[in-house]
Amino acid sequence: MNPGAVRTLPLVEVEDVSKGTYWLRFHAPAGFACDPGHFFMLSSPENGAPFLGRPLSIGDVHGERFGFLVRALGGATAWFRTLPVGSPIRLVGPLGRPFLQPERSVHCMVAGGIGLAPFFYLARRLRATQPGARIELRYGERSADAHAPLMEAEGELFDVVERFTDDGSLGARGTVVDGLDDRLGDPNAAWYACGPHAMLRALARRLDEAGATDVQFSLEERMACGFGVCQACIVPNRSGKPRYRLLCMDGPVLDPREVAW
């Protein structure tokens, strides 16, 4: 699958992780390749609801399978969940610019909610290419049970896993942004983040104040095409020139210092 291929693949597995969160898995066809941070547009090849494709970050590529970690939020993400195995799904991708993987002694990943999705594959790849590096994951959840099962299954990909929940029911209480103090000064850390807009905005400010330079955020915006033609997915540019960039082409991974939050 070259960048931007269009493939209709049968759904191989839907695995529930926790209420409302699930893995959507496929067999990787010959030549399938993509990098952490890439996304795909998933749609129905039949002419039904949902109509438009939906962007999903590659969640993991492992052995002969690849998958997306999805949270059922609305029409399409709830619909994918209900599809019987074998259902055809159209995948367009990989799309966008993936995470750069600079050589660093520490890789710090910060996730909010389903923003966790791209980090399994990123960790897996960093483990392989930088075996000596330390990979840390800090993530925030609304309540305790959302991601715990994932960590049981895939937690060994990370050297450190710190959890934050709004209610403190699992891990530390509070937001993930509050829990970064000890790492913030580390000049050798590379930062990666994905999550709700408000979290990313706060995190961008913290990292900026702390002088972190090696920072990559995976952002979201509504998309209709995913490959630069519809002009839907605008992200306001800090510099103001041009006023907007297209998330599907210039992102979804962006340097937060270039974004007008």
């Binding site: 002419n47 109509f51 438009l52 509504r222 998309m223 209709a224 519809c230 002009q231 041009p242 907007y244």
Partner: protein, 321 residues
């Protein structure tokens, strides 16, 4: 394949009747990663203004039943950047595929200005025709403000005509009581043809936020939902003005949809929203039309306007039996 699919739309000789619609195909090179541009009968660029435009605030799209709303607001790189960065590259790729540059302005005078720019740069740009977008629902000035008021409409078309000898297709809005007088006016003013339809006005409300979804409130409705609306107006325009070349647009997703437009009277069609969902929509439609023509032993030219020819109807379908 070549022979059965060839069609003529006014001054445009087309290798086949499938074009990509404005605003859904970038400036011509965006789909190169999927399939070669030279496959198409032609394509229409994103609407170009003299100066670049940022467009409207986000969110700019929303999904509806069998369709979508957009409020892009004619974001474009501007004429100069198009001539400098896009046209040469696209010309190297397009082969026999026709390039139609779509233009607009904020007022009738600006339509004249951009047309003059196209005329001045025509040897560099090498476009085959100009499509005049007076029907965008997503701009405060210009757009449907011009395209839905016959006086301004006439003024804009006249200025474009005065500025260029390139073939002109005027892109019509369905947001009027009757599209026919606008088609007639375009023809009167010397346009070579019309493109129809642009998007319908539409709005979606996020009932949890209790506010419109799109940043601008309303937007333009496109996709399969509007197919019957486009077919209706193409049929009506063809009936009233049988000699006026028509590019049929609106909701085309399958080759059968394209056939509906051709039979309603369009010489060729433009595919828009469908390409977002299925980037292979245009070649898929092309292949389907080719198979159909082959199996029925007809050429595309033969079926253009067929739904107007009473008596030509091919046997009643016997659904049982």
């Amino acid at each position: 394949m070549v022979e059965r699919l060839a069609t003529t739309c006014g001054p445009l000789e087309l290798a086949n009747p499938v074009l990509a619609a404005s605003g859904t195909f970038g400036y011509g090179d965006s789909f190169e990663r999927f399939w070669p541009l030279s496959l198409l009968g032609g394509f229409v660029t994103k609407t170009l203004f003299v100066a670049p435009r940022d467009g409207n605030p986000a969110p700019r799209v929303a999904e509806t039943s069998a369709g979508m709303l957009n409020s892009i607001g004619l974001a474009n790189v501007g004429w100069e950047a198009f001539v400098r960065d896009k046209a040469p590259r696209v010309n190297a790729l397009r082969g026999r595929s026709r390039m139609i540059v779509n233009v607009a302005g904020n007022a009738p005078e600006e339509f004249g200005e951009i047309a003059a720019r196209v005329e001045a740069d025509r040897d560099v740009v090498r476009c085959d025709a100009v499509e005049v977008n007076v029907s965008c629902p997503n701009v405060k000035e210009g757009g449907t403000n011009i395209g839905c008021h016959i006086g301004q409409f006439r003024d804009a078309v006249r200025r474009v005509r005065a500025a260029t000898t390139l073939p002109i297709f005027v892109k019509l809005s369905p947001n009027v009581a009757d599209v026919v007088p606008f088609a007639l006016c375009a023809a009167d003013e010397g346009a070579e043809g019309v493109s129809l339809v642009n998007t319908l006005y539409g709005m979606q409300i996020d009932t949890e936020r209790r506010a419109p979804v799109l940043g601008t409130g309303s937007g333009g409705l496109s996709g399969p939902a509007i197919l019957p609306v486009g077919v209706h107006w193409v049929f009506k325009v063809r009936a009233a003005l049988p000699e006026l070349p028509i590019l049929g647009i609106g909701g085309i997703t399958t080759w059968r949809d394209a056939l509906q437009y051709l039979m309603a009277g369009a010489q060729a069609v433009q595919v828009g929203t469908a390409s977002f969902v299925n980037p292979h929509a245009c070649p898929d439609i092309l292949a389907g039309l080719d198979r159909w023509c082959a199996s029925r032993n007809v050429a595309i030219r033969d079926v253009v306007g067929a739904a107007h020819r009473v008596g030509e109807a091919v046997e009643e379908p016997v659904w049982t039996g």
